[in-house]
């Protein structure tokens, strides 16, 4: 096994420059649209089992056929013998495209001034040319929810595909208003408020949330009754949540906050998704009973309490799923969204299981976001978002060979890979010319 693997690695290394496109000076390889036949792969459909020696035909941006003996019929044939096809991996919560360099405020666009700014649109600020997008998509993550953060209602999140030249070309057909639920927890080591202040701040914030909510309700009622209203963009956006047009993403992590949030949602008759849910395992049954789907993560994270088992964050997704909660995973990251498959592996190893972990980054987020007709599995009729890998994409030793997004064949290159190609054998080397 080991020797086989070594030979494979050597082969891969030898091929890397070729794989990463035999570039001619001045030539740039762009994502390419077309008709592609991915031939003779093992297809892990996620929803319809795993199919051996199966081919997948991509045309017009869609998966048009999945089967054996498919005719190429003018399609570009890519031999996938010995390779695996998976649906594009979906990250249920990131800041991808909203920030370039975290410590440089001029490049940070995920948070604005104000506590109630649900009208702020993440999609507007997505930078299609962010280096992080190129770095992320070759890992097999093809689609992410990109989420604003900051105040109580920081803005509106958007699902994006990691290919395209404008935010609209990238838009994946799902938006939701983000809410950071008032918290009774500390924000970290540097949060030095007294216990009393933490509690007081939490109560104050919850009261504010309720006041705002009541205002938005009044706004909607007045609007429905045909009243002429002044310009309130925040209320306009929140009223879409109340009317059911947009779901509410509630970021909530501490167990008592989760319970509070479940109570807060009760009777509101709105579409709700919980995000974060770090201490979800403590109240998993209550979340399941409330039938609220969850986007949890990062999985590779420290426990929230000193007394917690060291593996509480690894095990959280598994415990939630076991209680009957629909679970998707997220990295909550910007530049290292590429690690989502590894977060999924950790969740799998600590209780979620491989099959459920795969669902948690494919079909589950698609269902939670209401776009399962387009995303999350390899099925005819769905968007042509899929990846071809040498093995389980959650394993670091597997290589992702091809990525397709909306039917575009993505060049398997980015700045990280180009730097590797330039500097692996530097010329001149040690000595000066």
């Amino acid at each position: 096994m080991n020797r086989m693997y070594k030979t494979f690695c050597a082969l891969l290394l030898a091929l890397l420059p070729v794989v990463a496109m035999a570039q001619i000076d001045g030539e740039f390889v762009k994502p390419r649209n077309g008709k592609f036949l991915l031939k003779n792969a093992t297809v892990v459909t996620v929803t319809k089992g795993t199919l051996a020696n199966t081919s997948v035909l991509l045309e017009n941006g869609k998966i048009s056929k999945v089967g054996t003996n498919l005719s190429s019929d003018g399609a570009e044939v890519i031999d996938c013998t010995g390779l695996f096809i998976y649906p594009g991996i979906i990250d249920g919560g990131t800041r991808l495209g909203l920030v370039e360099v975290s410590s440089v405020p001029e490049t940070v666009d995920y948070a604005d001034v104000g506590n109630v700014t649900p009208n702020m649109q993440a999609l507007t600020t997505v930078n299609p040319n962010s280096e992080a997008i190129g770095v992320t998509r070759v890992s097999g993550v093809t689609t992410v929810l990109t989420v604003p953060s900051g105040g109580l209602f920081p803005g509106t999140a958007a699902l994006i595909n990691l290919n395209g030249y404008t935010p609209d070309q990238m838009y994946g057909g799902f938006k939701a208003v983000a809410m950071i639920f008032p918290s009774s927890g500390r924000r970290g080591r540097f949060d030095r408020r007294s216990d009393e202040d933490v509690k007081k701040d939490g109560e104050k914030a919850l009261k504010e949330a309720n006041d705002i909510w009541d205002n938005a309700k009044s706004y909607l009622e007045l609007k429905k009754s045909g009243a002429t209203l002044a310009y309130f963009p925040e209320m306009e956006q929140l009223s879409k949540v109340i009317s059911g047009e947009l779901p509410l993403l509630i970021e909530v992590n501490a167990a008592s906050d989760i319970q509070q949030a479940i109570k807060w949602v009760e009777g509101k008759n709105i579409k709700v998704i919980f995000t974060g849910v770090a201490e979800g395992w403590r109240v998993a049954d209550e979340i399941a009973k409330a039938k609220i789907p969850v986007v949890t993560g990062p999985v590779q994270e420290l426990p929230t309490r000193s007394s917690d088992r060291y593996d509480a964050p690894y095990a959280n997704a598994g415990l939630l799923a076991k209680a009957g909660v629909k679970v998707a995973l997220r990295t909550d990251d910007e530049e290292n969204v590429r690690n989502l498959p590894f977060h999924a592996a950790f969740a799998a190893a600590y209780g979620l299981g491989k099959e459920e972990a795969l669902k948690a980054v494919t079909i589950n987020p698609a269902e939670i976001f209401g776009v399962a007709d387009q995303y999350g599995s390899v099925e005819a009729g769905k968007r042509a978002n899929l990846i071809v890998s040498t093995g389980d994409p959650f394993e670091t030793r597997s290589q992702i060979m091809h990525v397709f997004i909306d039917g575009y064949r993505i060049p398997m290159s980015n700045r990280h890979i180009r730097l590797y190609q330039e500097f692996l054998e530097r010329s001149p080397g040690l000595k000066a010319n």
């Binding site: 080991n2 693997y5 690695c9 050597a10 891969l12 370039e100 360099v101 975290s102 410590s103 440089v104 405020p105 992080a132 009774s184 927890g185 500390r186 924000r187 970290g188 080591r189 540097f190 216990d195 501490a254 770090a278 201490e279 990062p298 994270e301 420290l302 426990p303 929230t304 309490r305 000193s306 007394s307 917690d308 088992r309 060291y310 593996d311 910007e334 530049e335 290292n336 498959p341 590894f342 592996a345 950790f346 799998a348 190893a349 491989k354 959650f394 394993e395 670091t396 030793r397 290589q399 700045r415 990280h416 890979i417 730097l419 590797y420 500097f423 692996l424 530097r426 080397g429 040690l430």
Partner: protein, 463 residues
């Protein structure tokens, strides 16, 4: 005078002896494991016999001497304890950010053996960590190498007493922000960073010379020359020049790495390890030729300007250029899965299993100067061992048991809910740390008090 030195040495030896006497050493026979020795290949279904904290025999069908426990590791993997060459776990404070050079500071003075981070690291198979000063100063404090003997209340018990001295240096954004932009003193630029280091070493040379002159004069009859003022700060820099201390230098950009290489060449210093070294790949041949290599992140980038032009292939490029390379955590979170971080060198650069595992075992051991004691499974070495379910480089690997000196400090089957050794009075109502990851990044901890002008935004910049 000489007599005095012997006497002092004897007392010191006694002190060390006492503190080591309290360190528990175990005996155990681990059977039928796939033994990943790291330095001598893999041994299929083999046994490892440990007595009094030392590996004494490797082979098949070994039998346990009377009174020695046997652990059946059939179907499991056994590897050397993981070594993290860059950590802040087990420290109460991290930065003494009051001057650009604080070489007199010792992290041994702030070791906290009850830090939960130590147990969590053990649960990830990490047995040795390099508890470093932060990166606020150009020359920071002297680091402590820790052995994760969880359960002791005595800091001396978890300090690896026989590890060589190491010291933290830091280049680039952090020291220029803290001292130049924060306090209006040098360094404000990477030029200033070089100047601070050269000034420091030259002052140390003068200091050494003053003491040498005094020692000579003192032996003259009728001498009345008073001794020069003692400076722990300059003495430590002099010790670096004398090769008694290994420099571990926080660095990111290729230009600053190259600068320090030129400085050490000028001062004839050999013992330098670069830490983080995100752009090390650009000067890999120089790092390979003139230093003890680089200790890097597997894939961290873009969290600040000086790591924007990074590549996850850094470790692979360094390795293939012959630089001694290790993968570190600098994080209470990452330290929990360094085996997985090392595995990323297979995704990014196709390194072999042996190369990847060496990056978290024997390579960091060499960079800390402890490779004769730990870092591989060999007869005669200290029995720091980890049993894994699944190959440690698999994303699904789960550490099962971790041993330090043959004593089992982590066992997944006996892992209780609350592993705290000690609960502070202020934590009787246990705080919940949301986004606990913020807590994980401590390289710039303890510098906030100096920079109220930055209004906390400063603290977002980590590492």
């Amino acid at each position: 005078m000489k007599k005095h030195i012997y006497l002092i040495a004897a007392f010191l030896g006694l002190g060390v002896g006492i503190s080591q006497a309290q360190v528990q050493k175990g005996s155990v026979l681990i059977k039928n494991a796939t033994v990943l020795t790291v330095t001598k290949g893999n041994l299929e279904s083999s046994d490892v016999l440990v007595q009094n904290g030392i590996i004494i025999q490797l082979g098949k069908n070994l039998t346990a001497p009377a009174g020695v426990n046997t652990i059946d590791a059939s179907g499991k993997y056994l590897m050397p304890g993981i070594i993290d060459a860059h950590s802040h776990v087990g420290l109460d404070v991290v930065n003494e950010a009051s001057a650009p050079i604080t070489s007199e500071i010792r992290m041994k003075d702030v070791v906290n053996p009850t830090d939960m981070g130590i147990y969590r690291a053990l649960a990830g198979g990490v047995t040795v960590s390099h508890a470093m000063h932060g990166s606020a100063n150009v020359v920071g404090g002297q680091n402590a190498t820790l052995k994760h003997r969880w359960g002791s209340m005595d800091p001396a018990d978890i300090i690896m007493q026989d590890a060589p001295r190491t010291i933290k240096f830091a280049l680039g954004e952090n020291p220029t922000r803290v001292h130049g932009r924060g306090n209006g003193i040098q360094p404000r630029s990477r030029m200033g960073v070089e100047a601070v280091i050269r000034n420091g070493f030259n002052e140390a040379i003068q200091y050494k010379k003053a003491w040498e002159t005094y020692q000579l004069a003192k032996n003259q009859k009728g001498n009345t020359t008073p001794p020069p003022a003692y400076s722990e700060r300059l003495q430590t820099l002099a010790d670096i020049l004398d090769g008694k201390i290994i420099i571990h230098c926080h660095s990111y950009r290729a230009d600053e790495i190259y600068m320090l290489i030129n400085v050490i060449k000028d001062f004839n210093i050999k013992k330098v390890v670069f830490q983080h070294t995100n752009e090390g790949f650009k000067v890999a041949p120089e790092i390979a030729e003139y230093t003890m290599g680089a200790s890097v992140f597997a894939d961290w980038w873009a969290y600040k300007m000086e790591v924007y032009y990074s590549t996850a292939f850094n470790a692979a490029i360094l390795q293939k250029n012959g630089a001694l390379t290790s993968i570190n955590s600098d994080s209470a979170e990452l330290i929990r899965h360094l085996y997985h971080e090392a595995a990323k060198t297979q995704r990014y650069g196709g390194l072999t299993d042996e190369e990847a595992l060496a990056m978290i075992t024997i390579n960091p051991a060499k960079q800390l100067g402890i490779e004769d004691k730990v870092g591989s499974i060999e007869v005669g070495k200290q029995a720091d061992l980890v049993i894994f379910e699944g190959h440690p480089l698999s994303s699904y690997a789960v550490p099962q048991m971790t041993f330090v000196d043959g004593v089992k400090y982590f066992d997944i089957k006996k892992d209780n809910n609350d592993q705290r050794q000690w609960v502070a009075a202020t934590e009787m109502v246990e705080p919940i740390f949301l986004r606990a990851n913020e807590e994980a990044h401590r390289c710039m901890q303890d510098v906030d008090a100096y920079f109220e002008a930055f209004q906390g935004a400063f603290l977002k910049e980590k590492h």
